[in-house]
C-alpha cells in the first residue's frame, strides 16, 4: 500500500460516491493530503463579530479551522462531507456546511457560529429558547446546526409557514428523529405557536 496506490483508491472512491474502494481514511485525506508539505498562511477571519487571526492550510475546511484552531467546538462534524448539516454556520447570513467550505474562501466575509448566537448578556436567542421549550434536542449533536439553520431562516423570513420552515430546515439531519419538535421550535421562535 504505497502512496500512489492510495491516491488511486481515493480517486476511485470519489467515482463510486463513497463506495468502499477507498480506505477508511481517504475522505479525511481530502482535507489533509498535502498537509505535510504545504505551508499554512496567516489569515484574519471575521467570526462572531471579532477578528481572529489564524494560520490556515490551503485545503483546510472552515469546520476544521473553527473546531481545531479556534476552539469553537460547538460546530459539530457529523459527516465531514456535506450530508448532515451538523456543521452549519452562517456566512454573510447564509447557512453553509462549514465542512464543505474552504477557510480561505471566507476571507472578507462574516462568519457566525453557534457561539455567536446568544446575546452579549447571555440571553438565549429566541430559537435556542424555543428549542428548550419544545424539548427539541435528544442527543444534541445536530442541535447547533439546527439552531443555525433556524436562525438564518427567521432572519430572512420572520414568519415562515410550516412548509417553508420544513424546506429551510431540510438540510439538517436529526438521527434521533423527533423533527417535529424542531419544527415546532421554529414556529414558536417566530411567534406563531402559543
Amino acid at each position: 500500500m504505497n502512496s500512489r496506490l492510495t491516491r488511486r483508491r481515493f480517486i476511485k472512491g470519489v467515482i463510486f460516491s463513497g463506495a468502499a474502494a477507498s480506505t477508511g481514511a481517504s475522505f479525511y485525506l481530502a482535507n489533509a493530503q498535502s498537509g505535510q508539505s504545504s505551508a499554512e498562511r496567516l489569515v484574519t477571519l471575521n467570526i462572531n463579530g471579532r477578528n481572529r487571526p489564524v494560520d490556515v492550510l490551503p485545503q483546510e475546511t472552515l469546520a476544521h479551522t473553527l473546531r481545531y484552531k479556534l476552539d469553537l467546538t460547538g460546530t459539530k462534524l457529523g459527516c465531514n462531507r456535506g450530508e448532515c448539516g451538523a456543521c452549519t454556520v452562517l456566512i454573510d447570513e447564509v447557512p453553509n456546511y462549514s465542512c464543505s467550505v474552504l477557510t480561505h474562501n471566507v476571507k472578507g466575509k462574516t462568519v457566525t457560529t453557534i457561539e455567536g448566537i446568544k446575546a452579549a448578556d447571555g440571553t438565549l436567542h429566541a430559537v435556542q429558547q424555543a428549542f428548550i421549550d419544545e424539548n427539541s434536542p435528544q442527543c444534541g449533536f445536530c442541535t447547533p446546526g439546527q439552531v443555525m439553520s433556524a436562525v438564518a431562516l427567521l432572519r430572512s423570513n420572520p414568519r415562515p409557514t410550516r412548509k417553508e420552515a420544513l424546506q429551510a430546515m431540510s438540510g439538517n439531519l436529526y438521527r434521533c428523529g423527533a423533527y417535529e419538535h424542531y419544527l415546532n421550535g421554529v414556529m414558536r421562535a417566530s411567534g406563531q405557536l402559543a
Partner: protein, 804 residues
C-alpha cells in the same frame, strides 16, 4: 427541564471529540479495502521514518481477541471492508494520514460471502476460516453459575432446504442451533380454520449515530482518563478497565454527552482499546477520531433476516399455532436477533402453540449488534402486513384481529412463556383507534385519480426493564439533595427522569436537587447499560430505594435527636418531623449535619454489603459529607416489564411514481406512568421516524461481485429527513402505572420504532389492495415494480438480503 438541554442549544456541552489535552497526538486507522483476506505482511518502515510519526499499533500490541471476538485491530484474518488493521499516531492528523499512505500492507484475497443462505449451501463460502455460524452456549458450572461461551462452527444445509426457503417453504432437513417450542403445534394447526405460509426478508442497516465513536485517553498517576461516546456510564467501567488491563478503580470514564447510540454504543466498543492502550504505550494523550465512513464500517448495524412463517388461526381470530424459521445475517460479528423476533410474535399473537428455529450466519459485511428493538422491530415490520392478510381472509377487522391476540397482564413473552409485570395492549389499541379515527378512515374512499390512500396498524414491543441495580443519594448540610446517577446520556434524558424518583420520594423541590453524572469521579453508582429501553423501570426503582434508605435514616436521626421512635416521624417540605406535632422536627440541612456527626451508615462511612463494588467506591468518594442514602434494588416481584406500543398510519401513494406521503400517524404507548410528558412525546416521535427508515428507506447494499458496500454515507443510507416524515402526529399513552415500579413507569424507547414501522408497512399493503411484499424495507423501486407488473424486486421468494 433536563439540566443538559441548555448546553445542547448553545453548543457548550462537550462530546468526546471536543476535548483537547496538552501534548495530545492523533491516531488514525488503516482499514481493509477488501471483505475477506489474510494479512500477509505489513511494511511500515517508510512511515516510521517520517517526522512527526510517534508510533504504530497493531493487533500484537493488544490482548489477543481470537474469533469469535470482534478485535479492535485485525490480527491475521480480515472479515469485512473497513476493518482496522493498524493505527498510526502522529503529531497531527495530516501526518498520520500521510504515514498511513506510506504503509504497505500485503493482503491475500480470500473468498467472501454476503448472503447467509449462500454460506449455508453445500460448498458455499464461509466468512471465517473456522466456519460460518456463531454458536452461543450456556452451561451450568460449579455452584450453579451459568458459563456462557461462543464458538464458530461450520454448518451446511442440504441444497433442498436452501431451495425450499428461497421458495417460501419450510426448509426441511436444515440444522438450527437455536430452537424452542411450547404447546402442541400439530394440534394447533389441526384446530386452525385458516393457515397461511409466508417467506420474509429484512435487510440490516447501520446505526449512523450522528457522533462517530471518537475517543481520547490520557494517563495520570496510574489512572486512565478516558473520553468516550457511549450510551451508558457506569456500565462501561468494568469492561473498559479489562480492555486496558487495569483495576476499575483506576479508570475515570468521562462521557457527559453522547451523540446518539441506538444500541451501537451500549457497552465499551473494541476501538476504545486503541486510544486507551496507545496513550499508555506512547505516554501522550491520544485522540482517535472516527470518520463518518469509518462509523459505517465499525459502528455496528442491525442484523438482517431470511425467514419463513406459518400461522394457523381459529374462526374467532385467535392464533392457534405459529411455526417460525429465521436465518439471521450476523455480519462479521455473527450475532443475530432471531429469538427476539420470535418474542415479538409471542406478544403480538399470544399463540396457543409455537415453534421457533433459528440460525445466525456470519457474512463478510459490517459488524452487527443491537439496534433499537433488535429482532422485535424488523419482525414487527414484516408481520404487520401478514397479520392484515390473515385478518382479511377471515373477514375480520385488522384492529379487531390484533385485539383478540395481543398480550395483557396475564399474558406471557418468549419461548419460556415468562410472565409480564403488567400489559395493556388492548387498551392501547382501543385508545389508538379512537385517536386516529380508524373506523372513519377505513371507510373513506381510497382512490383519487392516480393517488390511493392506505391506512395501517402495527404493534411494537420490547422488554423494558431490569432489576437489582444500586441507587445513591446524598443530602448535603446545605439541605440540597444530590442524586448520583450512573446512567448514561444518549439523548433520552432518562438520567434526569429517573432522578426525579428520588426527588419525589424525598419530597424535595427539583430546583433544590443536583444530579451528579457524566464522569466516574463524580462518584456514580452501579448502573445497567442504557440499552433495551430499560432505564426508566430499572433506575426509577434504584433511585427510589436509595431515597427510602435516606428517609429511614432521616427518621432515625430525628428520633435520636428529638426522642421517640423513628415510626413517630414523617417527612414533608424538606423536613423530618413528628407526626403528632409538626413543629418538632429537623430540616434536611440539620439532619445532614447530624448525619455527619453521627457517622457510620448515616454519612456513608458504612454501607450495605450487597451493593456493587462500583457503588462501594462511589460511596467512599462522598462519605462523611452528608446524609447518604444507598441501596440495592430488592423490590420484590417477578416477570418482564414490557414496553408495548400501537401505531396507526395513513399514507397517500402516487400510483404513477410509487412514492407515498405519510399523511398522519397516531400512536399510543403502554409504558406505565408517563414521567415527563414532553420528553415522552419526543421519544415517541423519534422512534416513529426510525420506523419510517426501517419500513421504507434504510438498508445495506453490497456489490455481490466484489463484496463492497455501496451506500456508506448518510446520503445513500437514507435515514429519514424532514421531508420524509409526517409532521402531523398524535402521541398518547394508556398511562396505567406498572405495579412493580414505585414510580409506575416502564420503558418505551424501542417499541416506538416497531409500532411505526409496522403501521407504515400495513398502510403500504393496504394502499396496494393487501399486496404483501414480505420485506423490510419496502422501497419505492419495489412499489413501482409491483405496480408495473415487474417481479424483479418484489418477488420475495428469492430472499435477497444485502443486495437487490
Amino acid at each position: 427541564m433536563p439540566p443538559d438541554i441548555p448546553g445542547k442549544v448553545t453548543g457548550e456541552i462537550k462530546y468526546a471529540e471536543d476535548y483537547k489535552r496538552e501534548g495530545m497526538i492523533f491516531a488514525r486507522l488503516l482499514t481493509s479495502p477488501m471483505p475477506s483476506g489474510r494479512v500477509a505482511n505489513i511494511d511500515a518502515s517508510d512511515a516510521l521514518r517520517m517526522d512527526g510519526v510517534i508510533g504504530i499499533m497493531t493487533a500484537d500490541d493488544l490482548p489477543p481477541s481470537p474469533p469469535p471476538g470482534n478485535p479492535a485491530l485485525a490480527s491475521e484474518y480480515i472479515t469485512f471492508v473497513g476493518q482496522p488493521i493498524l493505527a498510526v499516531a502522529a503529531v497531527s492528523e495530516e501526518i498520520a494520514e500521510e504515514a498511513i499512505s506510506r504503509i504497505r500492507v500485503d493482503i491475500e484475497r480470500k473468498d467472501f460471502v454476503i448472503d447467509p443462505l449462500e454460506s449455508l449451501a453445500p460448498g458455499g463460502p464461509k466468512a471465517y476460516p473456522e466456519g460460518n455460524v456463531l454458536l452461543r452456549t450456556r452451561e451450568i458450572g460449579p455452584g450453579g453459575t451459568p458459563i456462557m461461551s461462543a464458538e464458530i462452527k461450520d454448518i451446511k444445509w442440504p441444497q433442498s432446504a436452501i431451495d425450499a426457503l428461497r421458495e417460501g417453504k419450510e426448509p426441511v432437513g436444515a440444522e438450527f442451533p437455536s430452537e424452542w417450542a411450547f404447546g402442541d403445534l400439530e394440534a394447533g394447526f389441526a384446530q386452525s380454520t385458516h393457515i397461511i405460509e409466508e417467506p420474509f426478508v429484512t435487510i440490516g442497516y447501520p446505526h449512523h449515530s450522528l457522533e462517530p465513536r471518537t475517543s481520547m485517553a490520557y494517563w495520570e498517576n496510574g489512572k486512565c482518563y478516558f473520553h468516550g461516546s457511549s450510551q451508558s456510564q457506569s456500565a462501561n467501567d468494568n469492561g473498559l478497565a479489562r480492555m486496558l488491563n487495569i483495576d476499575p478503580a483506576n479508570l475515570v470514564f468521562i462521557n457527559e454527552a453522547t451523540g446518539g447510540g441506538f444500541g451501537s454504543k451500549i457497552g465499551p466498543y473494541p476501538y476504545m482499546a486503541i486510544s486507551g492502550n496507545f496513550s499508555r504505550m506512547l505516554n501522550r494523550p491520544v485522540q482517535l477520531r472516527i470518520t463518518r465512513e469509518q462509523e459505517f464500517y465499525l459502528g455496528s448495524a442491525r442484523s438482517g433476516m431470511q425467514g419463513w412463517i406459518k400461522i394457523g388461526v381459529k374462526d374467532n381470530g385467535k392464533v392457534a399455532a405459529v411455526d417460525l424459521v429465521i436465518v439471521n445475517d450476523g455480519g462479521s460479528t455473527g450475532g443475530g436477533s432471531g429469538s427476539s423476533s420470535a418474542q415479538h410474535v409471542t406478544i403480538a399473537y399470544q399463540p396457543e402453540s409455537m415453534r421457533f428455529r433459528g440460525i445466525s450466519v456470519y457474512t463478510n459485511t459490517t459488524p452487527r449488534g443491537a439496534q433499537r428493538g433488535p429482532g422485535q422491530n424488523e419482525m414487527a415490520a414484516v408481520l404487520a402486513p401478514i397479520s392484515d392478510k390473515i385478518a382479511t381472509s377471515i373477514n375480520m377487522d385488522r384492529v379487531a384481529f390484533r385485539r383478540v391476540n395481543v398480550a395483557d397482564s396475564d399474558g406471557f413473552q418468549g419461548g419460556s412463556r415468562g410472565p409480564l409485570t403488567s400489559a395493556f395492549g388492548r387498551e392501547a389499541l382501543d385508545q389508538g383507534a379512537r385517536l386516529f379515527g380508524w373506523d372513519e378512515k377505513i371507510n373513506q374512499p381510497k382512490r383519487n385519480g392516480s393517488k390511493v390512500r392506505g391506512v395501517g396498524v402495527g404493534i411494537g414491543y420490547h422488554g423494558a426493564g431490569g432489576r437489582g441495580y444500586d441507587g445513591l443519594v446524598r443530602i448535603a448540610p446545605d439541605g440540597k439533595l444530590h442524586i448520583h446517577s450512573g446512567v448514561g446520556n444518549l439523548g433520552t434524558y432518562s438520567y434526569a427522569g429517573t432522578s426525579r424518583a428520588a426527588a419525589e420520594a424525598l419530597q424535595v423541590e427539583w430546583d433544590n436537587c443536583e444530579i451528579h453524572r457524566g464522569r466516574t469521579d463524580n462518584h456514580l453508582p452501579h448502573s445497567s447499560g442504557q440499552g433495551g429501553s430499560n432505564t426508566m423501570f430499572t433506575h426509577g426503582r434504584a433511585n427510589w430505594v436509595a431515597a427510602q434508605d435516606a428517609i429511614t435514616k432521616l427518621k432515625e436521626i430525628a428520633a435520636s435527636e428529638l426522642g421517640g421512635s423513628p415510626e413517630d416521624f414523617e417527612i414533608g417540605g424538606e423536613r423530618v418531623f413528628k407526626s403528632s406535632d409538626s413543629t418538632q422536627g429537623l430540616s434536611y440541612a440539620e439532619a445532614a449535619q447530624k448525619a455527619i456527626e453521627m457517622g457510620g451508615k448515616y454519612s456513608g462511612m458504612e454501607y450495605p454489603d450487597d451493593i456493587n463494588p462500583i457503588t462501594q467506591r462511589a460511596v467512599q468518594g462522598i462519605q462523611g459529607t452528608g446524609l447518604v442514602g444507598v441501596s440495592k434494588d430488592k423490590i420484590p416481584g417477578q416477570g418482564q416489564p414490557p414496553g408495548i406500543q400501537v401505531g396507526f398510519c395513513e399514507i397517500e401513494m402516487d400510483l404513477d411514481t410509487g412514492k407515498y406521503e405519510i399523511l398522519n400517524y397516531a400512536a399510543v404507548a403502554d409504558c406505565g406512568t408517563v414521567v415527563h410528558p414532553k420528553n415522552f412525546e419526543n421519544a415517541m416521535r423519534g422512534g416513529a421516524v426510525w420506523g419510517v427508515g426501517l419500513a421504507g428507506l434504510e438498508r445495506h447494499v453490497y456489490d455481490p461481485q466484489n463484496g463492497l458496500p455501496a451506500n456508506v454515507g448518510l446520503y445513500q443510507s437514507k435515514p429519514p429527513t424532514y421531508l420524509d416524515i409526517s409532521t402531523d402526529t398524535n402521541m398518547s399513552a394508556v398511562n396505567i402505572p406498572d405495579p412493580q415500579n414505585p414510580i409506575g413507569a416502564r420503558g418505551i424507547g424501542e417499541p416506538t420504532q416497531g409500532a411505526s414501522a409496522a403501521a407504515l408497512a400495513s398502510a403500504i399493503a393496504d394502499a396496494l389492495d393487501g399486496h404483501v411484499f414480505n420485506t423490510a424495507p419496502v422501497t419505492t423501486d419495489m412499489i413501482i415494480n409491483h405496480l408495473a407488473g415487474n417481479t424483479y424486486s418484489t418477488q420475495t421468494p428469492n430472499l435477497k438480503t444485502n443486495t437487490f
